[in-house]
């Protein structure tokens, strides 16, 4: 029994030591990346930031820095990929929006599908608040609605009936928006083209007919994956197959 306890203690101590050393390593790597970026060694900066991101850190500022380093390195595709990842975490950062716009201006393929402006008008709260705020608002309003119902059940008397229905209405709007966001996150995959030029083909083979060509930094929708290829959708009617290594999902 004592032996088992000793072994368990050693294993747990080792795990804790590795975790602590990993956590201590990150600031050093991050500062190395910043320093490399500031002296123009962008390749080193990318490696350092990627090492931090690879350790499981998901942070919009880290992704923004990776986007900057990739852009300075001339890798527009990777830059847009990291900026888009940062954008998903913080869609309101003005620095990020500025740099993302700049990176997009360097791409060669013009976006063919325009977002319906009415969607922005009717679902203004989505752009205004961001995904996290919409979700927490839905949870809070839902809590208020059920709280009022519970108070009514305890007091055996109607409690703020009008306010309750108003809260229910607004909660449903936020709930539907949050569910839509989750659906998009889980099922609608978007990817960025990484090589300078990629042929989009009609089938799953290198010698299948080339339908059109996309360039680095272009964002496409992923419809399905099969045998190392992805069926992408660039715009209405522009669909085809691309090798998986030519793109990366945001």
């Amino acid at each position: 029994m004592k032996k088992i306890c000793a072994i368990l203690f050693v294993v747990m101590a080792t795990i804790a030591a590795v975790a602590v050393s990993g956590a201590a390593e990150r600031p050093r790597l991050f500062l190395d990346g910043v320093s490399a970026y500031n002296r123009g060694a962008y390749h080193e900066a990318v490696s350092a930031f990627q090492a931090v991101a690879g350790s499981g850190i998901c942070n919009e500022k880290l992704f923004y820095n990776l986007g900057n380093a990739c852009l300075k390195q001339g890798k527009i595709g990777y830059a847009i990929l990291w900026y888009e990842r940062a954008f998903r975490l913080d869609p309101h950062d003005p620095d990020l929006l500025f740099n993302l716009d700049y990176a997009r201006s360097l791409t060669r393929d013009m976006k063919e599908e325009k977002v319906n402006p009415f969607i922005g008008v009717f679902f203004f709260w989505k752009d205004m608040l961001g995904d996290a705020a919409v979700r927490w608002t839905a949870i809070f309003l839902n809590l208020c609605f059920w709280g009022l119902l519970t108070a009514q059940a305890i007091r055996r008397k109607r409690v703020f009936p009008f306010a309750r229905y108003c809260i229910l209405g607004v909660a449903l709007v936020f709930l539907v928006t949050a569910c839509h966001d989750y659906y998009v996150t889980l099922h609608v995959k978007t990817a960025v083209i990484l090589p300078a030029e990629v042929p989009v083909r009609s089938g799953l083979a290198d010698d299948a007919t080339e339908l059109f060509v996309l360039h680095e930094g272009t964002t496409v929708g992923i419809e399905k994956e099969k045998s190392g290829y992805s069926r992408i959708r660039f715009s209405r009617g522009k669909i085809g197959w691309i090798k998986n290594d030519a793109l990366e999902i945001i």
């Binding site: 942070n59 880290l62 820095n65 009609s202």
Partner: protein, 582 residues
């Protein structure tokens, strides 16, 4: 009749996929074709919609030509049929094969039969008879380029007949970087004594590696006017040209160029030197220092511009050795690339900001960069001119001078203008360590749990309340009944039967409420026992039993009860109910 139709429609809409077995067949419109002709392949699928994959067809270029669907109801059985059409353009002459095409559907594999197509050898039929109405050709500006040297690929369409709905499919250009130069303005010329229109499309190719590369045929699909539609002639025919009347018949044709072989030569050995930039072509280098005299803390910009014909966009950043007295900041290089008929021309500009940190005179050593010139087949060197910078003391008074407003009237400053960007760059890094905080987003299952939680809590509260009320209900209901009966007794003083009945019910109910029971009958002993069990003194229990006895004897005794007794019983019952109500 209407109901049957609606029912059939419902069945068709609801159960389209399950009513017929899966089947796939392949068919072609012709088995023997001339060079330059194509075959239409139709794949017909019944009972499902599988994913079609024609990557196994190697002898033909496959061009999708759309799909068509149909629905059939035969003897009440519904079957859905979908046809996938493909245009197959032969890539060589002889007997070509369309292999068996396999599709997977619901875990099973189905396949079509193999089809052989014979393509006659030799030149196309029209070419054998003289100048064809349409012909295509491809050519390269250089068949033996060096690796990285730009080559112009020209596709030429020679036409002397009308054509419509042209679709061009360029080769894949594997092994090259490709840029489209564009279409040259069509021009007319004479070939074999006949006037023809020449249309040219050009692509700029840069070989990525040395070796032999084959550029596959380019395809042009179009409808070619072949003859005239037979119709009755009329006296007005001579007034209008054939095309105006639309009397020409069109035939769909596919033309392909011959494949081209390119022998890409490797770069010579002397390009292995460390200062080789990777540029192939003809280039010049210019260097310029913004200011050669600066103060400590001031900056000056060193500009290096590489200009010329060739892959100038691939130019790497020159290695500039700056004295220690300067800090160096590199800007994003700017490219100005122009694509002309000769290939890529342009410039790439590198800018370095030098910030002086110490006083003194400093020289910036010349830096070198070499490139390969394929015209002379030699490696040439670009070298910068020697530059020098003098750094003076920091000018402290500058700070106050900078913010002085310019003299003169407000009106002389000129009209206001919108602020425009004068340079392009990205905003800097975010250097704070909060970039290392892991952002946890709310997962969908956590979100669902947090939504359901208040609902569950509400349900639990409702259940608890229901249980509590169920336990408390019998007692409280009996208390309510006791008070109700008492009020009724006060109103029914004139009617003996009802009055005594109400008094009895009031007393009985208040006593039963202490036992948490409902009922209509209670013995005197039970009355005493309940109240004693409820913690009341023995005297109260005895009084209650006595009161019950008095009420029942007044009710069932058969004698006339006077008003005084009735009043006394009512008062006693009211007191007892009040004292027994908790």
């Amino acid at each position: 009749m209407m109901k049957k139709l609606v029912f059939m429609l419902f069945c068709i809409l609801m159960f389209p996929a399950v009513l017929s077995a899966f089947e796939i067949t392949a068919d072609v419109d012709r088995r023997e074709i001339e060079p330059g002709e194509s075959v239409m392949l139709s794949l017909t699928v019944r009972g499902g919609e599988p994913e079609m994959d024609l990557s196994v067809v190697r002898d033909f270029r496959v061009v999708p030509r759309g799909t068509s669907s149909s629905l059939q109801i035969i003897n009440g059985e519904v079957s859905r049929e979908k046809t996938f059409n493909y245009l197959l353009v032969p890539l060589k002459d002889g007997v070509l094969t369309i292999p068996a095409l396999e599709v997977e559907f619901k875990g099973r594999t189905y396949s079509t039969g193999e089809i052989s197509i014979t393509v006659a050898e030799g030149a196309p039929r029209e070419a054998r008879n003289g100048l064809p109405p349409l012909s295509v050709a491809a050519a390269l500006s250089e068949r033996n380029p060096y690796e990285g040297e730009q080559v112009v690929y020209t596709f030429t369409l020679q036409s002397r007949a009308q054509y419509a709905n042209a679709r061009f499919q360029k080769p894949r250009f594997s092994g090259f970087t490709v840029k489209e130069i564009g279409q040259k303005e069509p021009y007319r010329t004479r070939v074999k004594g006949q006037e023809v229109t020449m249309t040219e499309l050009r692509y700029l190719l840069i070989p990525l590696k040395s070796g032999t590369i084959t550029i596959e045929p380019a395809l042009l699909e179009c409808d070619v006017a072949t003859g005239k539609r037979s119709r009755r002639t009329s006296p007005f025919d001579s007034l209008f040209p054939e095309s105006f009347l639309g009397r020409s018949t069109f035939q769909h044709r596919v033309f392909r160029t011959d494949p081209l072989t390119v022998h890409v030569k490797p770069l010579p050995r002397d390009t292995a030197r460390p200062d080789f930039s990777g540029l192939v072509g003809s280039f010049t280098m210019k260097t310029m220092l913004e200011r050669d005299t600066v103060n400590v803390g001031d900056s000056t910009t060193l500009t290096v511009t590489i200009e010329g014909r060739g892959n100038v966009m691939d130019a790497g950043e020159p290695t500039v050795e700056i004295p220690d007295a300067f800090k160096l900041y590199t800007d994003v290089p700017q490219e100005e690339i122009r694509l002309s008929e000769d290939g890529i021309k342009g410039s790439k500009t590198f800018r370095f900001a030098l910030v002086a940190t110490r006083e003194g005179s400093y020289a910036i050593a010349p830096f070198r960069m070499s490139y390969f010139d394929p015209t002379t087949e030699t490696c040439r060197v670009l070298a910068s001119e020697p530059l020098s910078v003098t750094v003076g003391k920091a000018a402290e008074e500058d700070a106050s001078a900078v913010f002085e407003s310019p003299p003169g009237d407000e009106g002389t400053r000129g009209p206001r203008k919108s602020v425009e960007f004068t340079g392009r760059d990205i905003l800097p890094l975010k250097e704070d360590l909060d970039a290392l905080e892991h952002r946890r987003s709310l997962r969908h299952y956590q979100f669902a749990f947090l939504l359901i939680l208040p609902c569950l809590l509400y349900g639990i509260v409702k259940i608890l309340l229901a249980v509590r009320r169920k336990n408390a209900d019998a007692g409280s209901r009996m208390v309510r009944r006791a008070h109700g009966a008492l009020k009724m007794a006060e109103r029914r003083v004139g009617r003996d039967e009802e009055f005594f009945s109400c008094l009895r019910r009031a007393l009985l109910s208040i006593i039963l409420s202490h036992a948490g029971l409902q009922g209509e009958v209670l013995t005197y002993d039970e009355t005493e026992a309940i109240l004693l069990g409820g913690g009341y003194p023995a005297e109260t229990a005895k009084n209650a039993a006595e009161l019950m006895k008095n009420i029942e004897s007044a009710r069932y005794g058969g004698r006339v009860v006077d008003e005084t007794l009735k009043k006394k019983l009512l008062d006693d019952t009211q007191r007892m109910v009040r004292s027994l109500t908790r």
